[in-house]
């Protein structure tokens, strides 16, 4: 092992420590898996944390039904290769049960609706800890989040009254009905994640790399025109561009960026030089200044 603990390594070691604490302190943990690069990174870290044993908790995907097909294929392959247990719960079911109402119009998205499905699933399986791939550098409300973040019976985040979190001691004690959201890569930046993917040679879905795609422009952003779920006016002209996705949330709220980066090292280079933040490509955050904080209070990831 290197004598010096360098940046990437210190983040990796911290994340492994956190993941092991979850396995040790909770009875029913789960790893929330979206198919995106952050959750793929989490899986990699969890594999490392427990080697040569298997990851001692399942993955859970809250499927909006609006995923890029590439991410679903990828998810199923990963789970099979690593011999993991995967739970899938569908937003469509919550809609069919009348628990949530599908949005309509230009900016319709299922991103918000996920919260209900997630909370129901937590209740169903009695999960006491949900590991997520959120990072503090993503957004200003996220920057405030603890590593072990306690949620009440309603899944809500009490942002003005968070537990102190000192040194690297993680307090996982909770009351009945509460659960904890755990963020092992809290201290990673987008560039750290990409550099790690490069260093570890981690496979990620193809949509993260530059490819030709039919798209249209709206509000200065680039939207996929290849998928029905993205609402498009007839007067919004379809063009073909070389694009890449920086984040792969729900298709209906994830914009693409122009890119020629077809390999991981090119992507890393591009991120390093980028002047726009990752969330700049998420329309759901642009709804209002406090969009993320509001969603989090309600129990969003």
């Amino acid at each position: 092992m290197n004598k010096d603990t360098y940046h990437i390594n210190s983040l990796e070691n911290e994340a492994i420590y956190i993941i092991r604490e979850v396995a040790a302190q909770f009875e029913k943990p789960v790893l929330l898996f979206s198919g995106g690069k952050d959750s793929i990174t989490l899986v990699r870290l969890a594999v490392k944390a427990f080697y040569p044993a298997k990851i001692p908790f399942p993955l859970m995907h809250i499927d909006t039904g609006h995923n890029f097909p590439e991410t679903i294929e990828f998810r199923d392959r990963l789970v099979k290769e690593l011999g993991l247990k995967l739970i899938v719960r569908n937003v469509q079911d919550s809609i069919d049960q009348g628990k949530v109402k599908e949005e309509s119009g230009r900016y319709a998205s299922r991103n918000q609706l996920q919260t209900t499905t997630l909370l129901d699933a937590i209740e169903e399986f009695k999960f006491d800890a949900c590991i997520g791939g959120a990072r503090r550098d993503e957004e200003k409300a996220r920057a405030k989040e603890r590593i072990f973040s306690v949620r009440d019976d309603f899944g809500q985040w009490d942002e003005k009254n968070q537990r102190p979190e000192l040194f690297d001691m993680l307090n996982g004690q909770i009351n009945l009905g509460q659960n904890v959201r755990v963020f092992p890569i809290s201290n990673w930046t987008e560039l750290d994640v990409w550099s790690y993917i490069e260093q570890e040679n981690i496979e990620i879905p193809s949509i993260y790399f530059a490819h030709k795609r039919k798209v249209f422009l709206r509000d200065g952003m680039i939207w996929s025109a290849e998928d029905e779920v993205v609402y498009r006016d007839d007067n919004e002209e379809v063009i073909e561009e070389m694009v890449r996705f920086r984040t792969v949330g729900d298709m209906s709220c994830t914009a693409a960026v122009l890119s020629e980066a077809a390999t991981i090292s090119k992507v890393v280079e591009e991120i390093r030089d980028s002047t726009i933040s990752e969330r700049g490509a998420r329309i759901d955050d642009k709804r209002s200044e406090a969009a993320m904080e509001k969603r989090k209070q309600q129990g969003y990831f």
Binding site: M1, E12, A49, K140, N171, I276
Partner: protein, 415 residues
């Protein structure tokens, strides 16, 4: 790349958030969309300047009130280092969040408003920084633009602060003074032209030049076992690995060790990091260790070098920061979390309260209120293996958990 964790400190409105925003701006770390959002909100608020505190005050309540409530972690990097800055609140009410931010930092920036000079909150935060034994402290005298960039004002504050320094407990703490204007950018990233009388480094230059050996405490290795790995697969049928993080020093294959509390003797057989074996596990690495003998080891046990034992006892005295509105009293019981180990602890005596303004101690205290700092003796239901905080940061610190609310209600430093 090297990571440096820094925390800010100082009273309400001294300009901590503005300073961090300024650092981000001047190092071109703010992305266009974030900068646009700051410009837009500054305009809406009717300012004729950019309100950089908006870069870190992320909660609605914070933006409405113009104050910081909880720690924000901010990331940026230069060619030399990656920085994680904890922007902490200045308000007394949120001191626990300030301690949270400072507890993981290697360096600290204390801000002083040049117009106000050293005030009670400066004392308190300096005291906490000293209690936490943060090795490098930068005292930035801010808002120099509002005092005509006066050298006299700066010198006066420096002299006042130096008086505090004589009273501090941890004398090896390195302290540097820098006059800045966070709002205008003087001496933050770039050296100021408005203060030719100051010939030292800018704040960022100072941080860039900090050497690792100046900020890390190295001690003896302690390996608290986090998790026992038993795959029971065909390939690893008899594998029994102890997963954990190495604190304080290094461990190597072949080291003679003792497992606490049983004091069973063994030797380190292999050190795994994922699927590779290594000769040595460095400080702060999360590894998996196997031992030569098949002995019974479980979570909370500690592996230490045979000739370098911590104290093993069922009581200790510690300085604590109390963080709960429900008072701590003699006889109160808490869960005491020491690393990954937990015991039930009872308060034997509150020895004395320590005034963080260096005005002395107070004896015959009945109970501790929120934000009090005091020396307390605890007794546990089973022995802990600990070091003094001054000798070992990790193995010398602990947290207290309320048995009813399960919330973290105090932080302690073993004496």
């Amino acid at each position: 790349m090297e990571v440096l964790k820094i925390a800010t400190a100082g009273s309400v409105d001294d300009g901590k958030s503005t300073l961090i925003g300024r650092i981000l701006y001047d190092t071109k770390s703010l992305t266009t969309d974030k900068l646009e959002a700051i410009e837009k909100t500054s305009k809406q608020k009717g300012y004729d300047y950019l309100d950089f505190s908006l870069a870190t005050d992320g909660l609605v309540a914070e933006r409405e009130q113009g104050i910081t409530i909880d720690v924000a972690h901010i990331y940026f990097s230069t060619r030399k280092k990656s920085y994680i800055i904890a922007d902490t609140p200045g308000h007394v009410e949120y001191t626990r969040n300030m301690v949270t931010g400072a507890s993981t930092s290697q360096a600290s920036i204390i801000l002083i408003d040049a117009r106000k000079g050293v005030i009670e909150q400066t004392n308190r935060h300096f005291f906490i920084n000293n209690l936490l034994r943060i090795k490098d402290v930068v005292v930035t005298i801010n808002k120099m633009d509002l005092v005509d960039y006066s050298e006299e004002v700066y010198n006066k504050i420096k002299a006042d602060f130096s008086e505090l320094m004589n009273k501090r407990d941890y004398q090896d703490q390195k302290i540097t003074f820098i006059p800045v204007s966070a709002l205008k950018g003087d001496n933050v990233v770039n050296r100021s032209e408005n203060m030719p009388w100051y010939t030292g480094q800018s704040l960022l230059e100072h941080l860039e030049n900090l050497d690792k050996k100046d900020i890390y405490n190295v001690g003896t290795p302690r390996f608290p076992v986090q998790f026992v790995i038993r795959p029971k697969t065909e390939d690893f049928h008899d594998f029994r690995g102890y997963a954990g993080k190495v604190y304080g020093g290094e461990l190597s294959v072949g080291d003679n060790i003792l497992v606490l509390p049983s004091k069973t003797r063994s030797k380190i057989k292999d050190i795994y990091f994922y699927d590779e074996k290594y000769q040595t596990a460095s400080r702060r690495s999360s590894v998996t260790i196997t031992l030569e003998n098949d002995i019974n080891v479980s979570r909370g046990d500690m592996i230490v070098l045979e000739n370098d034992l911590p104290t093993i006892d069922n009581h200790f005295t510690a300085n604590i920061c109390w963080m709960d509105s429900k008072p701590l009293e003699a006889g109160s019981k808490y869960v005491l979390q020491h690393g990954v180990n937990k015991v039930l602890a009872r308060v034997e005596t509150i020895n004395h309260k320590i005034h963080p303004d260096y005005s002395g101690i107070e004896k015959n205290v009945q109970g501790l209120g929120v934000n009090d700092i005091a020396s307390v003796t605890f007794k546990f239901n089973k022995p802990l293996f600990f070091d003094q905080f001054k000798n070992h940061r990790t193995n010398g610190s602990f947290i207290l958990i309320d048995t009813q609310t399960n919330s973290t209600v105090g932080a302690g430093f073993i004496q």
